[in-house]
């Protein structure tokens, strides 16, 4: 039959080209969103700024790396400890005592919330509900 002869000519053609290309462009544009959204510019990595007080203290309650990944957990534990067990004293591995208080302890050293806390939080797009109560009030009475 005539089946074979007809075929060769059409080998490379695309059918429904308009729809298919539109679909593929849409796919590529959506998928490449992060690439064109950032426009090829390197976003600066936030460097939390230490206050003079913090610099002077040299070290936090735990090593820096651990504070980086676990500070939210520590604060949460503190809150539970204070609110439920009325225990306000935290002792770290070098037997140093701290008041379990975000406002009175942490923010005492890191009084520059915008430069210290917010920088990374904004970068990582996290909005901790700490600030629902402790709003920009570094010192409580």
């Amino acid at each position: 039959m005539s089946q074979n002869n007809h075929h060769d000519k059409e080998e490379k053609k695309m059918y429904n080209k308009g729809e298919v290309i539109t679909g593929l462009v849409l796919f590529a544009v959506i998928f490449a969103f992060p690439f064109w959204y950032n426009m090829g510019k390197a976003a600066p990595v936030p460097e939390p700024v230490l206050t003079e007080q913090a610099k002077a203290a040299k070290e936090c309650i735990k090593p820096k790396a651990l504070m980086k990944t676990d500070h939210m957990q520590i604060l949460n534990d503190w809150r539970n400890s204070v609110a439920r067990d009325r225990n306000r004293i935290y002792v770290n591995s070098s037997n140093k005592e701290f008041d379990m208080s975000l406002s009175n302890n942490c923010l005492d050293c890191h009084s520059n919330k915008a430069e210290f806390c917010d920088k990374c939080h904004t970068y990582a797009s996290v909005s901790p509900y700490c600030w629902d109560c402790h709003i920009d009030k570094p010192k409580e009475k």
């Binding site: 039959m1 074979n4 075929h7 080998e11 059918y15």
Partner: protein, 539 residues
């Protein structure tokens, strides 16, 4: 004939929906008596001009294939991937979620896991992976690939002739993967190797030569219809006057030849004659054709090309006779071909006019390009406009349910027209359960050329879900008549009913219309077209 168990329960007991532990690729095919159809007659294959015409037997080891049969299959496979996006996409995107698994009537009726649509497709897909995908070439069996061997080919043949192309699986598939499409490709490949079944090959050869599947020659076709004319006169006192191959008619009427040939389809054929006669006064000018004397198209079950070759007669004859448009009778796959293929293959039918009912003036907008209208659309429109005088009570002996044919359902969407007609010609209509009707309808089990005698067990298994739904309304409402709009149904459903639900008959819609139709000049009607007394006329 097969050794079909007399007691239908024996067939049920064999069904187990839990497949064996052994992987399906390790279970070789066993071509079992009663589940396959006889091989194509070489004369028919030759007449139609298809390759490798020779006598062969599916049970033999040697199928007498051309020496380069693997190459033929590979090339044919590739060619079809390049030509049919459906085939290519369906080979690639199945995730084997299994939603289709228990939707196939053959799986439900046999429990054979290779009748799950997904696995039926995997039979081809495994070879596709081996031959056409990188992953398959590198990882082989790990990636679900396997080489084409004689055993694989036999497995293909056995299972692609256990699919009726009903498309029920495609309704449930989240990506619309249509096993009918895959079966069509497989059968096209078989036909390049001379591996058709005779129940398809011989009807196609007949149709090519004489215009109809049954091989009825023109004079005989006319005689058979004239026999109906006598029958109608005897029962109604009205002499209907059909015409054949008549130039100057407005409408060409084409219906499956099965309805001219065998009960109960013959009563539907008489129904057409009566309806046309009734409308003659009102301006209907219709002719039959002995050349385009087949609505059905077994070419569709062979290859796209043969489908086109057989279908060409419809437009050719309409053009030759100079009619305005074509009216089509009740048939299933005929309407899939007309609705989704004919215009593309053999159109545009720009020599015809947009179909308009000469009785009601209704313009059939939905058929304005193909120029072919379904008799149920035509009749429903007549009834809606009050153009038919009907006495519903003449069908009061019937408690009717309606079987949606696969093809008019999932390849067309004709659901409400036949129901509207039924509700206007009889008083007792009951629907089968909702997961078994409309787009979820079950196949009669004998479609796509599988309605032979030797595969009766396969047909009874495949028809089980349909029959079981009929049984439900039979027991609940006393349903005694299964109405349908398909000639294959009219041939296939009676033995199915006898086997699973004795006491339920089968009828076409137009037969019921004709029985209810009050013909001008009719004598007192005492019997219906089947010579059974009308309600109230029993002795």
């Amino acid at each position: 004939m097969s050794d079909l168990p007399k007691n239908s329960n024996e067939l049920i007991e064999k069904i187990d929906y839990n497949p064996s532990k052994k992987g399906w690729m390790d279970v070789p095919v066993e071509i079992r008596k009663g589940m396959y159809c006889y091989a194509s007659n070489p004369k028919s294959v030759e007449y139609i001009g298809l390759p490798n015409a020779r006598p062969w037997n599916p049970l033999d080891d040697d199928w007498k294939l051309p020496v380069n049969w693997k190459e033929i299959v590979h090339n044919a496979f590739k060619e079809r991937l390049d030509r049919f996006r459906s085939f290519k996409v369906f080979m690639d995107i199945c995730v084997r979620c299994g939603a289709c698994a228990d939707k196939c009537h053959f799986f439900i009726g046999t429990g054979d896991p290779k009748n799950m649509p997904v696995l039926r497709a995997e039979l081809l897909r495994s070879v596709y992976r081996n031959d056409f995908t990188t992953a398959g070439k590198i990882f082989g069996k790990v990636a679900g690939a396997r080489e084409l061997t004689m055993d694989v080919l036999k497995e293909w043949w056995y299972y692609f002739f256990q699919c009726t192309e009903c498309r029920r699986c495609s309704v449930f598939c989240p990506y619309g993967i249509d096993t009918a499409e895959i079966t069509i490709m497989a059968r096209e490949i078989f036909n390049l190797l001379g591996l058709n079944i005779d129940w398809i090959a011989t009807p196609t050869a007949n149709c090519y030569r004489t215009g109809n599947h049954l091989g009825i020659q023109p004079h005989a076709f006319k005689e058979m219809i004239e026999f109906f004319v006598d029958d109608i006169e005897e029962k109604t006192g009205v002499v209907v006057e059909p015409s054949f191959n008549r130039k100057g008619a407005d409408i060409l009427f084409i219906t499956p030849s099965g309805d001219v040939f065998a009960d109960p389809g013959t009563y539907t054929a008489m129904g057409y004659l009566m309806l046309f006669h009734y409308l003659k006064e009102q301006g209907l000018n219709v002719t039959w054709s002995t050349y385009a004397s087949e609505g059905g198209n077994f070419g569709f079950f062979t290859s796209h090309e043969l489908m086109k070759r057989l279908n060409a007669k419809m437009y050719a004859e309409a053009k030759r006779l100079g009619v305005k448009w074509i009216l089509g009778g009740e048939c299933g796959h005929m309407w899939r071909v007309i609705n989704q293929y004919m215009d593309t293959m053999n159109g545009p039918a720009d020599f015809l006019e947009d179909p308009v009912s000469p009785i009601t003036g209704t313009k059939f907008e939905n058929a304005k390009s193909t120029k072919m209208v379904h008799i149920s659309e035509f009749t429903a429109d007549l009834i809606y406009h009050g153009k038919l005088k009907l006495d519903k009570s003449r069908n009061d002996n019937l408690k009717v349910t309606f079987h949606d044919s696969c093809n008019t359902s999932r390849g067309m969407g004709m659901f409400d027209e036949p129901r509207y007609i039924i509700n206007n010609v009889c008083n007792h209509f009951y629907e089968m359960p909702k997961n078994t009707i409309r787009e979820q309808t079950f196949c009669c089990g004998s479609g796509s050329g599988l309605n032979a005698g030797e595969d009766m067990e396969l047909r009874m298994c495949g028809g089980l879900p349909r029959a079981n739904a009929v049984k439900y309304v039979h027991e609940k409402f006393g349903v005694n008549m299964l109405a349908c709009v398909c000639a294959i149904d009219r041939a296939a459903l009676p033995p199915l009913m006898d086997y699973w639900v004795p006491g339920v008959g089968v009828t076409g819609i137009t037969e019921m219309v004709a029985n209810a139709l009050i013909m001008p000049g009719e004598k007192e009607r005492t019997v219906n077209l089947r010579d059974e007394p009308l309600p109230g006329m029993e002795e």
